[in-house]
């Protein structure tokens, strides 16, 4: 094989992490929405809210199961493909991963069983408590994983022990590591991204039901809740995104320069590119449209100060400019589009005419891939923009590989992942499609078994023809 272990391992990491990240943002965001929905049920006693919570729980469960399966791969992969990195960061990064396992995963997966299968097993309040715990687990999980990743971006609270091949980072101040310079901004921005995604996801399915004239009460209520959450999150995104970009300007100047394709520092205030095609070889931006001086104002809050360009960074430390620039710009434009869409939606909802605006509902039906793309591109910006470092300024990606692994092994596992993930994606789409077509259990009361042995009975009952899965809580009507 001509392709190196490095290229293949990076390719495999990109493939597996991007595939994995299709699922966690929906779990985080939808988990929060479930809490809101079930709280409204408890407060009002309106069975509409109960049907709504049950319906979205089914979707949540499908998504969660795939997230767990692809998440195990991520944890294994640090050791299998990036052993040198694991040795280097284990002391620091490990505390965060261990915290995630102990505080988040058990909480999520334990209470998920009650959330999905426990409707008739526990009291409504206990069930609501379980829903809150699942949402909290997803939230904890995001905290620790962002903490670990942020440490790679802006290392803090550590010192380097040993030299050369045996050098590694050791923790000196746990809280300085947790609150590394970028962690809180990045956490907020990631959570906002997850809420936008979940809101658009719910709006898409709800708009589809409204257009088809099905499950109208549930669809309208769901759409409204998601629209409010989506609008708030979309408005918050640029504000917190700006805070985060300022932090990047301060802590990772090479990344910022690549995000904005600033090749020369110059002496004048730096313009902001609205569009353009950066060319790293010629060190200029083709077909660029700019707003003069805006980047200086955004990055430093000082309209006069020129932004540090790539000319101040050794060429061997440049990140890939075009990919970072485009990922970042498309994400920002999508973010602005979400603001416009949700504000237009709120405007018509306020006037009470939203649900008659069929064209707008169709826009919401088809808008759902966009927040997925925006979330992915945000991470591409963060990770590609950090290159050539895996731990910024300390450890190069090329020096982080497993020494015991050869190219053919990685090639084999990439092929395996492509096959398995294609299959997994097919399952996910197939099951999701069925859940959506089936819709909520409207007006059907699921009989409650009264035998002493009924605990699994209800699980089986709810499982319908399916039975074997966390996600099977079928509508009995569909079972003829």
């Amino acid at each position: 094989m001509d392709i190196s272990v490095l290229t293949l391992s990076r390719l495999q990491f990109a493939l597996t992490i991007m595939f994995h990240y299709l699922f966690p943002p929906l779990s985080i965001g939808l988990g929060g929405l479930l809490v809101v929905m079930e709280a409204m049920f408890l407060k009002t006693g309106n069975p509409g809210y109960e049907a709504m919570t049950k319906f979205w729980t089914k979707i949540f469960a499908v998504n969660f199961a795939v997230g767990v399966a692809t998440g195990i791969v991520m944890e294994f992969q640090f050791g299998t493909n990036w052993a040198t990195y694991s040795r280097y960061v284990g002391d620091v990064f490990g505390s965060a991963l261990a915290a995630e396992g102990i505080f988040a995963f058990f909480l999520e997966s334990g209470f998920l069983a009650v959330l999905v299968f426990g409707w008739d097993k526990v009291s409504p309040r206990t069930h609501f408590f379980s829903t809150c715990m699942v949402a909290l687990g997803a939230f904890f999980s995001s905290i620790w994983i962002i903490v670990a990743n942020s440490w790679q971006q802006t290392p803090a609270g550590f010192h380097i022990v040993g030299e050369g091949l045996t050098a590694r980072a050791e923790i000196t101040d746990f809280w300085a590591m947790v609150f590394s310079p970028s962690s809180m901004q990045r956490l907020t921005h990631t959570l906002i991204g997850a809420y936008i995604l979940a809101a658009f996801f719910v709006m898409s399915i709800a708009a589809y039901y409204i257009l088809k004239g099905r499950h109208l009460d549930l669809a309208r209520k769901s759409f409204t809740i998601a629209l409010v959450v989506g609008a708030l999150a979309s408005l918050a995104a640029p504000i917190f995104g700006d805070l985060q970009a300022r932090k990047v300007a301060q802590t990772q100047p090479a990344k910022l320069a690549a995000m904005e394709a600033v090749f020369q520092t110059g002496t004048q205030p730096t313009p902001l590119y609205l569009f353009g095609l950066p060319d790293a070889n010629e060190q200029r931006v083709k077909y660029g449209v700019t707003i003069p001086g805006l980047l200086s104002r955004l990055a430093y809050g000082d309209a006069q100060k020129p932004v540090a360009g790539l000319d101040r960074i050794p060429r061997r430390d440049w990140p890939p400019v075009a990919m970072t620039f485009h990922s970042f710009h498309i994400m920002v434009w999508l973010g602005l589009l979400f603001v416009v869409l949700t504000l237009v939606g709120l405007h018509f909802r306020w006037r009470g005419t939203l649900f008659e605006k069929r064209w707008l509902l169709w826009v919401f039906v088809w808008a759902v891939p966009l927040p997925y793309i925006a979330n992915q591109l945000g991470w591409v910006t963060a990770e590609v923009g950090r290159q050539p470092w895996v731990v910024y300024g300390l450890l190069r990606t090329s020096g982080a590989l497993s020494k015991a692994v050869v190219a053919n092994q990685v090639l084999g596992s990439i092929i395996m992942f492509i096959v398995v993930y294609a299959l997994l994606f097919a399952v996910w789409v197939f099951v999701l499609d069925r859940k959506i077509k089936q819709g909520p259990d409207e007006g059907v009361t699921v009989p409650i078994t009264t035998t002493s042995a009924g605990l699994f009975g209800v699980a089986g009952l709810r499982a319908g023809t399916g039975g074997a899965s966390l996600t099977e809580t079928d509508n009995p009507k569909a079972k003829e």
């Binding site: 261990a98 396992g101 899965s469």
Partner: protein, 338 residues
């Protein structure tokens, strides 16, 4: 007791928790094809339906804790077992997909395809766990730079394959006993028959593995001479194993299940005793072995993690127990199942 030893023990606890909990649901997968009727297969899958996902979290946490406490052992083992672990991931994902996919379509061919893949994936995953344990018991070709220097085929030594088969037999027995606990009527009587068979299979492999270990793995017994009290655990292990047929004979599935949990806990404990203080023994040069000291994170990290475990573990145990309590009792499929 220092923190390195504490974390060695805690990893053992996580591993035992994983082997006991995911052990029975892997075991259910291994014996899955023994029933033929669709409804009965669904009962089997439903018995682990709400629980397998949480059980797998023990593996995730074990991996995270190994990474954090002993990053060098994590890095060496995971990169050394590259191909084996990729196949393991494949099996674990396929297992989850089989459970999700199986009942979504009525065609018998479709269902039997996913049933077979559920069984194969469960068996392969268990076999690989056993092979990995066998390799760790035997020692691995680790160089002075802590890197694995062997090959994938080198991991398939007869001893390691024997331990792999032993793991399959253990989980098959454990899963059968769990099913005996969860089913009723005529199906339960048939499961009782397999319990005897899987127990026989387990007993034969237990004896073979023990003899092979005592004869050919001198490393595994060095701690027994220094710490004779470990023999108490060996005796308890034998008593637990002996109690399984007794409980089956008395038709007390609860006792049988507790005994098989105790057996797995004891085996994990003995695995730890055989290993200590090594995490990975170097078959090239004992000085290059990764020990609980040479592979460990700094004292500070181990202390932080110990605090987290002290804060988190009581909650984990509490709500794991609550969830198991909520889902206690026999499996029953509803009348509109189809």
């Amino acid at each position: 007791m220092d923190l390195n030893i504490l974390w060695f023990i805690l990893l053992g606890v996580l591993l035992a928790g994983y082997a006991i909990l995911d052990g029975f649901d892997l075991g259910v997968g291994i014996v899955h094809l023994a029933v033929k009727k669709d409804e009965e297969r669904r009962i089997l899958m439903n018995s682990i339906g709400p629980l397998w996902d949480g059980n797998e979290v023990w593996l995730v946490t074990f991996g995270g804790a190994l990474f954090a406490a002993f990053p060098n052992a994590y890095a060496t083992a995971f990169s050394g077992f590259y191909t084996a672990f990729m196949v393991l991931l494949f099996a674990l994902i396929f297992r989850a997909v089989s459970m999700e996919f199986r009942s979504k379509h009525d065609s018998p061919a479709w269902r039997s395809f996913w049933d077979v893949s559920f069984c194969i994936a469960s068996t392969v995953a268990t076999l690989l766990f056993g092979v990995a344990v066998g390799n760790v018991m035997r020692g691995m070709p680790i160089g002075a730079d802590m890197e694995f220097q062997g090959t994938f085929l080198g991991l398939l030594h007869p001893y390691c394959l024997l331990v792999g088969l032993f793991a399959v037999a253990t989980f098959a027995m454990h899963g059968s006993i769990y099913l005996y606990l969860k089913t009723e009527g005529e199906l339960q009587q048939r499961i009782r028959e397999w319990m005897w068979r899987t127990f026989g299979f387990f007993l034969v492999l237990y004896i073979f593995t023990t003899i092979f270990t005592l004869v050919a793995m001198p490393l595994a017994t060095h701690n027994f001479a220094e710490h004779p009290w470990v023999w108490i655990v060996v005796v308890l292990n034998v008593l637990a194993i002996a109690n399984i047929p007794r409980a089956i004979h008395l038709r007390r599935p609860g006792y049988a299940f507790v005994s098989s949990c105790a057996t797995i806990a004891a085996l994990t404990f003995l695995f730890g005793v055989a290993l200590f203080p090594h995490l990975i023994y170097s078959s090239l040069n004992p000085k290059w072995s990764l020990t609980v000291y040479s592979a460990a994170s700094s004292h500070k990290t181990l202390a932080i993690m110990a605090t987290m475990a002290a804060l988190g573990l009581p909650f984990v145990l509490a709500y794991t127990s609550v969830v198991y309590w909520v889902f206690r009792g026999k499996v029953q499929l509803g009348k509109f199942s189809y």
